[in-house]
Amino acid sequence: MSKSYTTPVYSHAARGDFRDVYDPAEDSFLLIDALEKDAERLQLMSPCVCLEVGSGSGVVSAFLASVVGPSALYLCTDVNPAAAQCTAKTASCNDVSLQPVVGTGIEAAWAGGERGREVTDRFLPVVAQLLSSKGLFYLITIAENDPEEIIRLLGKCGLKGEACLSTRAGNERLSVLRFHKS
């Protein structure tokens, strides 16, 4: 029977000083579920650096840190400075070590900017160069992001991808895509 991991504490998000920080929602939890499903694989991989682009409250990285442990550096980037502060608090609340880094303007903070692909479209081309031969790239998408096109696009960069977990939340169809070097 596989080990089950607890969801990180995040009650401080989306309130008070962190009211502008993305409150963990179905997409956050689906991503956490996908990482939990791959827990053994991630532990065996023993990564040096884990990077989260658009970390928000930091709940996803906090979860990953609880699975993989303190041997890795957890970089959490976000364009929202409040998110960076919230991530720091999430780290201390969950007894993990995360390194937030603040990025560019707040306008692009929610849902990856225009069409929901602004940040992703800048980041996707470099993913293949960033990933080690054993590395994994997880991307949470909604149907409107056109996940099939993303898989095709990254396929041309030498990354093999698939939807490893999907669900429906309200009107949105969410999918977690997972890529590795082919």
Binding site: T77, V79, A88, V101, F123
Partner: protein, 108 residues
């Protein structure tokens, strides 16, 4: 911004990743004992291998005295607040004097 973070990684992928040593930092312990830093706000020097200036894509120097990441060439300093580097160019401090008075960058 993300190119700034990964600029070094792009040129030195394998070496940089293997070179990053993780030292778990228990809450409140300052590894270098610097008086300017409060508990829980220490800056991890291994980040210098990963972060570059978002404008020039070149490595930065950590200034202990002001707790900033310096781009000497461009004369700008990125603040580190509560151990969190702020890589937004508009929030950076200009080191050299300019003839036009510029507004003071706001601090978070």
């Amino acid at each position: 911004m993300f190119r700034s973070v990964f600029g070094r990684l792009l040129t030195e992928t394998g070496c940089v990743l293997r070179g990053v040593q993780r030292r778990p930092i228990p809450g409140g312990v300052s590894l270098r004992g610097l008086s300017g830093l409060k508990d829980g706000e220490q800056f991890d020097l291994s980040l210098l291998e990963l972060l570059v200036c978002p404008l020039s894509k070149k490595p930065l120097r950590y200034a202990v005295e002001t707790n900033e990441l310096i781009n000497e060439e461009l004369g700008i300093a990125y603040p580190i607040i509560d151990g969190i580097p702020n890589m937004i160019p508009q929030d950076a401090r200009l080191i050299r004097k300019h003839t036009d008075p510029s507004p003071t960058p706001t601090q978070a």
